[in-house]
Amino acid sequence: MADSKLTEATTASKPVAAPGAGAPVLSVQNLQAWYGESHILHGIDFNVKAGEVVTLLGRNGAGKTTTLKSVMGIIGKRTGSILFDDKEIIRATSDKIARMGIAFCPEERGIFASLDVRENLLLPPVVRSGGLSLDQIFDLFPNLKERLNSQGTKLSGGEQQMLAIARILRTGARFLMLDEPTEGLAPVIIQQIGHTIARLKSEGFTILLVEQNFRFASTVADRYYIVEHGKVIDGFANSELAANMDKLHTYLGV
């Protein structure tokens, strides 16, 4: 019941394209970025098509998180080109980028201690119609409904991660960037987040994922890009995964 209601409500506003079909929603070319004086990204190139789940893989410090933050506009100095819905956003401020329909779930989750769960959930403004209603969110994450009046940071790690994902689903943004959503979580919670991502994908959301947990990524991703020393050095589809396993072990050092 709950599933069909969710599907109905979210797909009615926008027909679901087949994953990977058509022009890229996000197209990043020669992206370079700096934290203060240090040059972190040295030319990132990748794209994400409508309805796809694309995963950035790479070792710690390779520049994956910085790539997401650059797309979101929260890295001070960045050059190159980032096209979202055919519009150049390399110079846009992060509030404008969010208003265009990109939503970001940061690695540290960013749950606010001075806000209760309800306030955390309602914090991001609705940027366009077609977002999930509170009822649909509680269908996806029943735990949150029980804890609405708790302080945001009193939730368990898993609940905080769900809250961090839930609040960006309300906004109507169809392009989600999730930074290591499984980090530090118990296997059963990771599974639940995996189901959630699969479900969002089937609803037509486009997702750019950063993951250290390759096993988890392989359950949800359509395509992979490998990031190393601030550059994209390789990329392949999920169907080519088996053929690329050896290379992958070398890249990731696992």
């Binding site: 979101m72 506009g73 929260i74 401020t93 992060s94 509030d95 980028i97 969010a98 208003r99 939503a103 970001f104 940061p106 960013g110 606010f112 201690a113 001075s114 806000l115 306030e119 309602l122 914090l123 991001p124 403004p125 940027v127 960006i168 906004t171």
Partner: protein, 287 residues
């Protein structure tokens, strides 16, 4: 006993000004991370604004209660846009120096034109006179100042702690980058917050005009005590700054009755004690 009640009332009135001013300082500090030394000068501008409205435009007390905070608030927002915003991310010290310099300039300009003596501002007709409460005589205007300040303080608390807008403010205090990445125009919110804090100071200035006269240095004298109040209460908390403001006014009043010699220093003695025992203030978060 009459004298005790009278001193308590004086204490409550001073406490009203302490509360309004330290509340504004707390709001500004939370969002801008700036210790606003210009607060006393802006309080003085609120009183002068009421004075100008009356004497130049013949606009009385009641409209001034709304117009003066708006006008001074807009002046504050211009200061924020043109100067304070460039200090974000720097050490507190820079904001302190800049706002201290602003205070000196503003006060200097007013002193240049109006000297140091007080200009009269009369109590509005509706609030003239007093009531005999049986145990004491209550001048109506003073009662009004205490009650109105309390209402404004509680309304500000409600706005920040209980509304959607307040949730945005609290979140932006914690993590402005992320709040902005959700699509909220944080720089605009910071400007409006500074305007709100400055408006509260100007409102206190208007309230104070009929009691304390309108003088260029009226804020400079008051703000020293207010900073002691802020140190005692702790910078972080909205309710803390309100309660501490009123409480210290009352303590000061009681001291005037029981040991008048200490009435000017009691707040500072308390400040030293609090700093020794709890350096982040009674309600402040350690940082």
């Amino acid at each position: 006993m009459q004298a005790l009640y009278a001193q308590l009332l004086v204490g409550l009135i001073n406490g009203s000004f302490y509360a309004l001013l330290s509340l504004g300082l707390a709001v500004i500090f939370g969002m801008l991370n700036i210790i606003n030394f210009a607060h006393g000068a802006l309080y003085m501008m609120g009183a002068f604004c009421a004075y100008f409205l009356l004497n130049l435009l013949n606009i009385g007390y009641w409209p001034a209660l709304i117009l003066a905070p708006i006008a001074v608030g807009i002046f504050g927002m211009i200061l924020e846009r043109t100067m304070l915003q460039w200090l974000s991310g720097l050490d507190h010290l820079y904001g302190l120096l800049l706002t201290f310099g602003m205070a000196l300039i503003i006060q200097g300009v007013f002193q240049n034109y109006f000297g140091s003596s007080g200009l009269p501002y009369s109590i509005p007709d509706a609030l003239k006179g007093g009531m005999n409460l049986g145990f004491m005589y209550l001048p109506i205007y003073r009662g009004w100042v205490v009650i109105f300040s309390l209402v404004v303080c509680l309304a500000t608390w409600y706005l920040i702690e209980r509304t959607r807008l307040g949730a945005n403010l609290r979140a932006a205090t914690e993590n402005p980058t992320l709040v902005r990445a959700f699509g909220i125009n944080v720089p605009r919110m910071i400007t409006l917050t500074y305007g709100l804090g400055v408006g509260l100071a100007a409102l206190a200035g208007v309230l104070s005009a009929p009691i304390n006269q309108v003088r260029p240095l009226m804020g400079a004298d008051l703000i020293i005590v207010v900073f002691a109040v802020v140190v005692i209460g702790g910078m972080g908390s909205i309710m803390g700054s309100i309660v501490t403001g009123f409480a210290l006014g009352v303590i000061e009043g009681l001291t005037k009755y029981f040991y008048p010699e200490a009435s000017n220093t009691v707040v500072f003695v308390l400040m030293v004690l609090v700093l020794l025992v709890k350096p982040s203030g009674l309600t402040g978060r350690a940082n």
